[in-house]
Amino acid sequence: MIKETQKRSICKAISWRLSGSIATVLVVYLFTRKISLSLGVGAVEFIAKMFFYYIHERVWARVHWGCISHPLSKISVKDNLTSEDLSIINDKLKELGYVD
């Protein structure tokens, strides 16, 4: 299964809200013909719904139902190596004559 990072969820939340809020501002203006009210509703909605969208994304990210898994997806390499790990490995291999 492809995992979505938190950063990606945040970016999607912002882009979705920007397009959604522009639509809201236009709709409110269409009915009220009041610019300040339209922008106010759009601003409040922008913040509130972006927050709820992010929560919604993170909840769905934990749900595996409906996702097609690659057969190897459950077998993965654990932690990445740190530079300190690599340095220790290199010293060990040098001692054994396997690297120069």
């Binding site: 190596l81 300190e84 120069d100």
Partner: protein, 420 residues
């Protein structure tokens, strides 16, 4: 039916034949006779990382992407240590895990960082820290409580060979102790235990194998102990279980380490600037080639290497020229040939990662181990190591498994899977 694979690093078939004649490893000798055993080939280059990944994947290096203990990215030029993350083919224990079989794998080279399996994986001597050695990670506290040794400290061999020998005994004892406990406590369908200490012993004690050798008694005691563990292992398995015992390469005495880069430099094929800096391949642009150990020569190809200057149109002719020169490489005093075989990469490898392979793979005559230092100035060098790997002297002994078609370490996975 369960399967147990015991890997004994670098244990030569010819050494076993010899020690069997002396009556020193009676249990393994009996297994050879009862179940059948054979001499098998290793891989090129003949190093444990490539050999065991070839075993565990059943693929050649151009398919699994592991070509040595050290590798390079050509542009920008950078040396790197390949790990599990660089391996591109699935292992026998990954496939069995996917089938829902329970696996336990201990200490097989190039299994670090440990990957998730359906069971337990304790990774190899590349692991720098016991807290990072296993999957699942929580197993490390058990290993610590057992005083498990990831690998012997080979620096000790230069300080005190006596202490080093004791450590080799202890490390092997710990591995079998833990393997026997996990065999009894955990569920498993496939179990692989790897003994690395034999490789370390042959590297540092080959010259003591003679009956007059200073550490001959301790060496024989080590192999007798190993034989007793093999007997106990067989007793712990059921009659119908499969047991495979194998090594990944053989060993022979080392006459000299051969610094291939220094030879290339003296041939005018590798050049360094006049400021004396010969570190980390700070080679000049007009160099023709460079080498990584053991015996891997990379052409300084334009468009591929960071400082590439050899034109693609000259590639074939230059490889042929280097091959010709290598064929004439002899020891100046003994007049012995240094090089046994020279391969262009496509002659021995095929697969999607062929481009990552060296352009020329050089296999030395027994006794001359190819190295790759750049800063020494001497071609022939002696160190504390006195044993080196051989290609055609690994072995395989198998109970309840058809190994007729197995000729090299690469063929074993197929034999395992056929009857799994």
């Amino acid at each position: 039916m369960k399967t147990f694979v015991l890997g004994i690093d670098g244990l030569p078939y010819s050494f076993l034949k010899d020690i069997f004649e002396k009556g020193r490893m009676p249990h393994l000798a009996k297994m050879f006779k009862t179940y059948g055993a054979k001499q098998i080939n290793s891989v090129y280059p003949t190093v444990s990382s490539v050999a065991w990944v070839t075993y565990m994947t059943g693929k050649n290096p151009a398919e699994h992407n592991i070509f040595g203990f050290a590798d390079r990215t050509p542009a920008p030029f950078q040396l790197k240590i390949p790990t599990t993350q660089d391996r591109k083919a699935t292992t026998v224990w990954q496939e069995l895990s996917r089938q829902g079989k329970k696996v336990i794998v201990i200490n097989v080279p190039l299994t670090y960082p440990p990957e998730e399996v359906n069971g337990i994986l304790i990774s190899c001597f590349l692991c720098p820290d016991i807290n990072k050695v296993s999957y699942p990670a929580k197993l490390s506290s058990y290993l610590k409580s057992k005083d498990y040794i990831i690998d012997v400290d080979t620096r000790l061999a230069r300080e005190s060979k006596e202490k080093f020998m004791k450590l080799l005994h202890k490390a092997m004892e710990k591995r079998f102790e833990i393997a026997f406990e996990l065999m009894a406590q955990d569920e498993w369908d496939f179990f692989q235990l790897h003994i690395m200490e034999t490789d370390r012993l042959f590297h540092f004690f080959w010259h003591d194998l003679d009956a007059h050798g200073q550490y001959y008694t301790e060496i024989i005691s080590f192999f007798e102990k190993l034989d007793n563990y093999i007997r106990e292992l067989e007793e712990r398995l059921s009659d119908g279980d499969r047991l495979l015992i194998l090594s990944d390469h053989g060993f022979c005495g080392l006459k000299a380490e051969v610094q291939l880069n220094t030879w290339l430099e003296k041939q005018g094929l590798l050049r360094f600037s006049n400021n004396g800096d010969k570190r980390a391949f700070s080679y000049e642009k007009d160099s023709i080639c460079y080498s990584l150990l053991p015996g891997r020569i990379f052409i300084n190809l334009e468009g591929r290497e960071e400082y590439g200057s050899v034109k693609k149109s000259d590639y074939a002719a230059i490889r042929k020229d280097i091959k010709q020169r290598l064929l004439g490489f002899i020891h100046p005093e003994t007049k012995e040939n240094i090089i046994d075989k020279i391969f262009f990469r496509e002659e021995i490898y095929s697969g999607p990662y062929l481009e990552n392979a060296a352009d020329i793979i050089v296999h030395p005559e027994n006794g001359y181990d190819l190295k790759g230092r750049t800063d020494n100035g001497e071609i022939f060098v002696s160190t504390a190591l006195n044993g080196m790997h051989t290609y055609d002297d690994a072995f395989l002994c198998a109970k309840n498994c058809d190994i007729k078609a197995v000729e090299s370490i690469k063929d074993i996975k197929e034999a395992l899977c056929k009857t799994a």
